[in-house]
Symmetry: C2
Subunit: 433 residues, 2 copies
C-alpha cells in the first residue's frame, strides 16, 4: 500500500509555477475544494493540466489490455515521477513500478512501492550503496536492475564488498541491438554475462530485459518484424539460461515494452520455462498518452490488436498545456505565453487543439487546421495561422495545446493541476524530478 | 537587501535529484560543511554543478564591463531562477533583476528584490491582479512590464478597473522587428501605443524596451549592423516620446541586451533626453556562461570591445553536467547516465570536456577531440568516439560536459551544488521553476 499522506499534506504556494499568484498557500489535499477555473481567470498561464476523465480512461484501457493478453504491467514511473499517479496505476492492477535511476527508486520506496524495476544499469558508489541500504531497510522490497557487461558486474561487486548484505541484489541481463543503446548485442555475450551474474556472491539473476521502443518506426509491418525478432532473441537467451539453471528466483522475469509497440511485446515475449515466467510490460507514456508521437504509434497498436480493440476508443490525450496570446505583432503570427520551459519540444512542437476567448466563449472551441506552433523560445511560442481563416487569435485568447512525448512536459512542472471536463481544478499532482 | 534565510533553512533530501541518496536530510546552509566530493563517489550521477571560481569570475567580469561602459545591469533571472544567484548579482552592482513572468516576479519580491523588469507582456486576470497586489503590498517595489499593443493596454485597464490602485503600474513600450517575436514593428505603431499608455489612468510610460538577441548570428559585421539599427529605432521612438512628454517618471528607462551582443547595446543604446536616462542591460546567460552558443558569441563581444577586453580572460563556463559511463556496448560508443532530463539539448548536445576514472585519476583529464555526444534520450546520452584514440571510455568512468544555453539546464534541477576547483561541494543553489 502506498502512503501518499506526506504529499497530500505538503503545502503549495505561488513560488511554484502555475499556482494562482494571489491565493494563499494550501496543502495539496485542499486544492480541489477551491474549484479554481481555468476559463474564469483563476489560474496564471502557462498551465499544464491533466484531464481527470482521460487519465481514468487510460488507466482502465491499459488494465483491460494487459488483462486480455495475460502480461503484467510495471509502468515506467520516469514519465510522470508522480507517486500519486503510481498509486492509481497500482490500484488499476499494475504489478510494480519501473524507474530510470536510484533517485527515482528512492521516491518509489519512500511512498510505499515495493516492486520496482530499474530499467537501467546500476553503477556508482553512491547508487550501489543506496540500493543495498534500501533493500536492507525494506526486506519486502523487490528490486531488479539491468546489467549488460562483466565490467559493470565487477564494479558492483567491488563497491558492495564492504557492505553488509543479507540477500543478494537481483539483476536482469539486458539485450540490446546493434546501433542501439545499452544491452548485450550478441547471444554469446548475453549468456556470458548471465553466467557471471549467476556465479556472483553479490548479484543474482532474476530475468532478462530489452527495450524495443527505440526501434519502433510507426511502419507497422516493419515494426512487427523488428520487435518480434528482438523478442525471439530474448527467448533464445532465456531458454539457454534456464537450461543452465542460471535463474535464481522461483519465478523468471522477462520484460520489455514502451508505449509504442507494447502489443507486439505482449504477444511475442511470453514463453514457457522450467519455472513460472512473469512477462512484464513497462509502458510509461500510455498513462497520459499524447497528441503527437504516441498518438500516431497507437494506430499501429490498434491495427495489430484486432477488431475489438479497433472498435473501442483508444488511449486519450490527458495532458494539455494552456497559454495566452500575448501579442499579435504581424498578420499570421501570434505569440503565446509558453515556451521550452513549459511544454515538450524534443520530438515536435506542441499541437494546438483548443482556444477559448474570455468573456465570449462558453466552452473551448476547436481551432482551424492552419494553426501551428512554429517555434518556441524559453518562455514564448510562435503560433502561425492563415490570416484569412474564420478564427483569428486575439490578445488575451487562451490556447490549449496537446504535447508530443509526455516525459518532457512532466519534468517541467513541480506540480500539475488535474481538471474536470469544464477545466475546473480537482487537485494537484506533485512530481519528483 | 535580499532575505535568503528561508532558502538557507530549507531542507533538502534524497527526494531531490542529485542529493546523495544515503545521506540524511540537511538544511541548505549545512550542505557545504559536508565537503562531499564528486570524485570520491559521494554524489549520485548525473550531477549538474556550478564551479564557484568561474561564477565569481563572471560576476566580476560583468561588473567591470558594465562599469566601463556606464550602463546598468538587470540580469535576466529566468536563466537561473535562483535567488541566491540574484543576491550575488545585486551584490556585484546590478541595478535590479529581470524576469519573464509574474511567478518569477513573485519569487523576486518574496526574497527581497525591489527593482524588477518583466521583459514580457503583462496580461491575464490572475497576473494583473497579482501585480497590483504586490505593488500595493510593497510600496518600495519598482516594477516595469512590456506593452506592445493597445489591445493589451485595454485588457489591463479592464482587469484593473475593479482594483484599488494607489499608484499607476509602469510599462515599457516594446519595439520588435519584422519576422521577430513580440514588439511593435513600426515607429508609428510604437508611438501610438506610447501615447495610449501615457493617456491611461492605470498605466504610466516608464521607458522603451527591445530584445536584439534573436537577431544575433555570430557574424560580427552583420550583428553590428542589425543591432545598431534596432538601437537607432529605439532612440527614434524615445526622442518622439520625450518631445511629447509621454514619459511619466523622473528617469527614463531604455533597456535591451541578452548575452550575445550586449556590447553593441551598451555602445549604441545610451542617449540624452530631457530627463536622466537609465540604460539597462538584461543579460542573463553571462552569469554561468556556457561551452556552446554563448561561448561562440563571446568571441564577437571581445573582438568588438577593444584590446583591453581581448587581453583579459573572458567569461568562463561555470555550469557542468557530470555523468557516468554505464555501458560500452559497441566499438566507438559509450552510453552515459544523463539525458534530456538533465542537460540542455535545445541548441546543441552537451559538449564533452573532462573525464575522470575513479581509483586511477588524481584529477579530471582532458578528453580527445573525437569525443562527442551524438544524441540523448530522456535518461541516456550517446558518447561517440574514435575507437583508436589514446583514451577509451570504460564502464564507471565519469564524464564532464559543458552545456550550450544555461537556461535549459537550470530548469532541469531543483537544486544544483556549487563546487570548488577540486569538485568538492561548497553549497547548494535552489531554483524556483
Amino acid at each position: 500500500m502506498m502512503n501518499l499522506a506526506p504529499i497530500l499534506s505538503e503545502t503549495l504556494d505561488a513560488a511554484t509555477k502555475g499556482y494562482p499568484p494571489s491565493r494563499p498557500a494550501l496543502p495539496i489535499s485542499a486544492i480541489g475544494a477551491e474549484r479554481w477555473s481555468l476559463f474564469a481567470g483563476d489560474l496564471p498561464l502557462p498551465q499544464a493540466v491533466i484531464r481527470d476523465s482521460a487519465l481514468a480512461h487510460n488507466h482502465a484501457w491499459m488494465r483491460d489490455f494487459t488483462a486480455s493478453t495475460g502480461v503484467l504491467l510495471a509502468p515506467h514511473g520516469k514519465t510522470t515521477m508522480a507517486p500519486q499517479i503510481f498509486a492509481q496505476q497500482l490500484a488499476a492492477g499494475a504489478w510494480g513500478i519501473t524507474v530510470a535511476n536510484v533517485q527515482q527508486l528512492g521516491i518509489c520506496v519512500r511512498f510505499g512501492v515495493r516492486r520496482v524495476i530499474m530499467a537501467n544499469q546500476l553503477l556508482g558508489a553512491a547508487e550501489v550503496g543506496a540500493v543495498i541500504r534500501l533493500r536492507e531497510a525494506h526486506p519486502d522490497l523487490e528490486f531488479h536492475f539491468l546489467i549488460d557487461s562483466q565490467a559493470q558486474l565487477a564494479s558492483i561487486e567491488h563497491l558492495a564488498a564492504s557492505q553488509k548484505i543479507s540477500r543478494k541484489v537481483t539483476a536482469l541481463v539486458e539485450l540490446g541491438v546493434p546501433g542501439g543503446r545499452t544491452g548485450c548485442r550478441a547471444y554469446n555475450e548475453a549468456l556470458a554475462v548471465a553466467r557471471a551474474v549467476a556465479a556472483s556472491k553479490i548479484v543474482a539473476l532474476s530475468g532478462l530485459e530489452c527495450y524495443e521502443g527505440l526501434q519502433v518506426s510507426g511502419d507497422s509491418g516493419r515494426d512487427e518484424v523488428v520487435v518480434a525478432a528482438l523478442m525471439q532473441r530474448v527467448q533464445d537467451v532465456a531458454l539457454a539460461c534456464d537450461r543452465e539453471g542460471l535463474f535464481a528466483d522461483p519465478t523468471i522475469i522477462l520484460t520489455a515494452g514502451g508505449s509504442a509497440a507494447f502489443d507486439i511485446v505482449a504477444r511475442d515475449l511470453p514463453m514457457r520455462l522450467s519455472k513460472p515466467v512473469l512477462t512484464i510490460l513497462r509502458s510509461g507514456c500510455y498513462v497520459t498518452h499524447d497528441s503527437g508521437f504516441y498518438n500516431r504509434m497507437l494506430e499501429g497498436v490498434k491495427a495489430r490488436s484486432g477488431a475489438a480493440w479497433q472498435a473501442r476508443p483508444g488511449l486519450q490525450a490527458a495532458l494539455e498545456v494552456w497559454s495566452q496570446v500575448q501579442s499579435c505583432p504581424e498578420p499570421g503570427l501570434a505569440i503565446l505565453t509558453m515556451g521550452k520551459r513549459d511544454a515538450s519540444f524534443d520530438l515536435e512542437m506542441p499541437i494546438v487543439s483548443k482556444r477559448y476567448r474570455p468573456g465570449t466563449d462558453a466552452a473551448p472551441q476547436p481551432v482551424p487546421a492552419s494553426w501551428k506552433i512554429a517555434n518556441m523560445n524559453d518562455q514564448h511560442a510562435y503560433l502561425r495561422f492563415s490570416a484569412g481563416a474564420d478564427a483569428t487569435p486575439q490578445v488575451g485568447d487562451l490556447v490549449g495545446c496537446g504535447i508530443s512525448h509526455p516525459c518532457t512536459t512532466f519534468d517541467k512542472w513541480r506540480a500539475l493541476f488535474t481538471v474536470d471536463d469544464d477545466y475546473r481544478v480537482t487537485g494537484a499532482i506533485r512530481t519528483f524530478f
